[in-house]
């Protein structure tokens, strides 16, 4: 037990003998990102290829390398963050998670069969159990990442219960679905509050002061537009159906018009996602408090939008390249692809292999683009637009907390709910 961590004692009442009287305005430290895009690109490209070669097992090393790069190039004032996690830990966490999930999988399978005996297709709701378990894993994964993050020789760490968090998250998800997304800002606030009030830097306790109402005021209009668009399509469909437009002549025209309108709507709504993400990110950052330390963000929506736009543009190029590659393969191996239709098995195997390889290469390209432009791009944009206010308080923070196990990351990986 670390006796320096005393929850009853207000943190930072400064019993430091030489500490000056608290300044009315906190000292500010600009956050900066010093990484080069070229370095990151090389890392992600090589790592991604290794991941393909090792049928995915390399991901633990890739993820660790990515985090090390992002962390070490993020500095608060003059002090760079440090990521102390290792790929070996992640691998072990994943293997333990597999060992844990194997019996769960079997039980789930048997449970599904028993449920089916009682009521046909009753096993479907059991999927929800795994989904709640995903929230549990996500919380534990965050705890792992936090305890592997150090700044100025102290680590971040987390208290709280992953089960309690999973319960809350599931409850808020339900509300969000029932209210067609209206409850989302309050969900985000409640979950962020739980995560942050269980987060510590040394013996400095964090909290979250952002409110759902504030996020709603900033981003509610996007939700409104999306809902209105969907409602308009639904109303149009209903009217067209009632007035019999879907029968008789001209039916194709009407259906075509609706498909076109739907596509247009989706095309208009997609750009809202990065804009919303920027809004939410800034709201999250501005709500963070570590004791007397706060964050100020000037993150611009158009900066984040630019990251996504670049990713979209380059992805289009990657997709086209894949198309050209496939076309070339089909031309060069013409006889094999022709025999595909005739049902010749050996020809099919070769063609299938070619299709699979091109498919994986294109996916790999998309992955690299996403990591370079979205993951790294948004990370760098957030860093460049954030200022830490009141850093002088950090001088008195004492070490506390221990490194958490990597099982959470392993579970999150196995359940596919992992993050950067």
């Amino acid at each position: 037990m670390d006796m320096r961590t005393n929850p009853d004692h207000p943190v930072l009442t400064s019993d430091h003998p030489s500490a000056p009287a608290p300044a009315p305005v906190g000292v500010e430290a600009q956050v900066a990102f010093t990484g080069l895009r070229g370095d990151f690109f090389g890392l992600v490209l090589a790592g991604g290829l290794m991941q393909l070669v090792t049928i995915g097992f390399y991901r633990f090393w890739l993820v660790t390398d990515i985090r090390r790069h992002l962390w070490r190039h993020t500095r608060i004032g003059a002090d760079a963050l440090e990521y102390t996690g290792t790929a070996r830990e992640l691998l072990i966490g994943f293997l333990v998670a597999l060992a844990m999930l194997a019996p769960v999988y079997v039980l789930y399978f048997l449970g599904g069969l028993i449920a089916e005996e009682v009521e046909t297709f009753a096993s479907v709701p059991l999927v929800l159990v795994l989904y709640v378990f995903g929230h549990y894993a996500a919380y534990r994964a965050r705890r792992y990442r936090m305890t592997r993050t150090s700044l100025r020789g102290l680590r971040f760490w987390m208290t709280g219960s992953a089960f309690a968090y999973a319960g809350r998250a599931a409850w808020w998800d339900l509300l969000t679905v029932l209210t067609l997304g209206l409850a989302y800002p309050w969900r985000a606030a409640a979950l962020e509050r739980y995560r942050m009030r269980n987060t510590r830097y040394g013996d400095l306790e964090a909290r979250f002061v952002g409110t759902g109402g504030r996020l709603f005021l900033r981003g509610g209009w996007m939700w409104g537009i999306g809902l209105l668009g969907l409602a308009a399509i639904a109303a149009g469909l209903a009217v067209a159906h009632r007035s019999g437009l879907f029968e008789g002549e001209g039916m194709e025209t009407v259906i075509g018009a609706f498909v076109l309108a739907g596509a247009l709507l989706v095309f208009l709504l997609i750009p809202l996602w990065p804009i919303f993400r920027a809004t939410e990110l800034r709201w999250r950052l501005e709500g963070v408090r570590f004791g007397p330390v706060s964050l100020r963000s000037t993150l611009r929506r158009r900066t984040v939008f630019g990251c996504y736009a670049a990713a979209f543009g380059v992805s289009t190029l990657v997709g086209s390249a894949g198309g050209v590659l496939f076309g070339t393969a089909a031309y060069v191996m013409k006889d094999r692809f022709d025999r595909l239709a005739e049902g010749d098995v050996t020809g099919q195997l070769a063609a299938f292999a070619v299709i699979a390889v091109i498919y994986l290469l294109v996916l790999f390209g998309f992955g690299v683009v996403k990591r370079v432009f979205v993951d790294r791009g948004v990370w760098a944009a957030v860093a460049a637009s954030t200022t830490v206010v009141g850093v002088e308080a950090l001088d008195h923070v004492k070490a506390a907390g221990a490194a958490a196990s990597s099982l959470g990351e392993g579970l999150a990986d196995a359940l596919d709910v992992g993050a950067v």
Binding site: G56, F57, D79, G202
Partner: protein, 362 residues
């Protein structure tokens, strides 16, 4: 070296106890790095314990395995950093270890891939084959109950029971089961649906769908189909395919599940593997069908001709690797080879055949 190596210089020190950034001076002794604050030594780190840690691009960050876990020294002066690195023999030991381990991972994961593929192709079917005899009939019966509900939900679920038709169906079933070597009860029923198919479920339930019955032109065609399904019951194929599908999905998911978005490849691969398993089972069921029909003195080929008529010409229209049934032309040929012609009376007379076809019309 033209320039003399520095024996000391300024650095930043975090002691791992508090977050205070301390400006210190380093002094390079013979075996230890001495950390001096205001002229007084605050810590001594042996060179042998020094390790490189992740820092920003413009400084060398140093940790020590004998100091608090997160205590760090950061040296901005490259010459001083080089002098320290020169004395610390294990400075990049972790990095070298990581590289060696990486190579092992690449080799190991390729081995895992090969092993998983071989397991899926050869071991899983073998396990399913050997496991099935140990699964009690009561379990299979319960599984069949589950599948039964799903099939009924999919096809509307109404069992046709016109009395005359039922009598004809029972007569046909009795002859077929009598000629087969089935060790569990077989229950055959007709479901009212336009779909042209027939299914055998675990536990001996066989459903003939009315759509297929209406497409048939002679009792031999339907008898052959039912004999084929009885072949599936004899082989306990429903149970086998359940075990195989579960096994392959688990293994292949394990193998590919993690390369982002590769689920489509997994799906296709699984379809091909499952497909090849079930094509084998179909051929076995066809052989059993031919055996039963021959034992009853009836031709085996009409069933295949019938299926060919129903499904149309298969070849050239689909990708045969993805089909769960062998191509109908191929089946027709192998069944023709097994056909011993007609030596016994018809299984149903004209009235019974008419009654059977009207089982859903009564």
């Amino acid at each position: 070296m033209s320039e003399p190596r520095p024996t000391g210089g300024p650095a930043v020190y975090w002691d791992g106890e508090t977050a205070r950034r301390r400006g210190v001076d380093l002094q390079l002794d013979a075996a230890t790095l001495v950390i001096l604050e205001d002229g007084a030594a605050v810590a001594r780190w042996p060179f042998a314990d020094l390790r490189r840690r992740d820092g920003g691009p413009d400084a060398t960050r140093i940790g020590s395995v004998s100091a608090p876990d997160l205590a760090r020294i950061e040296v901005a002066d490259p010459a001083l950093a080089a002098a320290i690195v020169g004395k610390a023999l294990h400075f990049d030991a972790a990095a070298a270890g990581v590289r060696r381990f990486r190579t092992k991972v690449v080799v190991g994961s390729l081995a895992v891939a090969v092993s998983l593929v071989l397991t899926t192709l050869f071991l899983v079917p073998l396990v399913a084959e050997r496991l099935v005899p140990f699964i009690p009939a009561t379990w299979e019966e319960r599984l069949g109950g589950v599948a039964d509900k799903q099939v009924k939900a999919l096809f509307g679920g109404e069992v046709c029971e016109a009395p005359a038709g039922k009598a004809a169906l029972d007569r046909l079933a009795q002859q077929l089961v009598g000629a087969a070597a089935v060790d569990q009860p077989v229950r055959i029923a007709v479901l009212r649906t336009d779909t042209k198919n027939a299914v055998a479920l675990p536990g001996g339930r066989i459903y003939l769908l009315d759509g297929l019955l209406q497409a048939a032109r002679s009792p031999d065609e339907i008898a052959g189909v039912l004999a084929h399904e009885i072949g599936h019951v004899t082989g306990r194929d429903g149970l086998k395919s359940l075990i195989q599908a579960g096994g392959t999905s688990w293994l292949l998911g394990l193998l590919f599940g993690d390369v982002t978005g590769s689920s489509a490849v997994v799906f296709a691969a699984r379809l091909m593997v499952d497909g090849s398993h079930s094509r084998e089972a179909e051929r076995a069921a066809d052989r059993e069908s031919a055996r039963i029909m021959t034992a009853l003195g009836r031709p085996a080929a009409p069933m295949a001709a019938f299926l060919l008529r129903v499904t149309g010409e298969n070849a050239g229209k689909g990708v045969s690797l993805l089909l769960s049934h062998p191509l109908s032309e191929e089946r027709l040929q192998s069944l023709k080879a097994l056909d011993r012609g007609t030596s016994g009376p018809p299984l149903l007379d004209d009235d019974q055949w008419k009654a059977l076809r009207g089982i859903c019309r009564g």
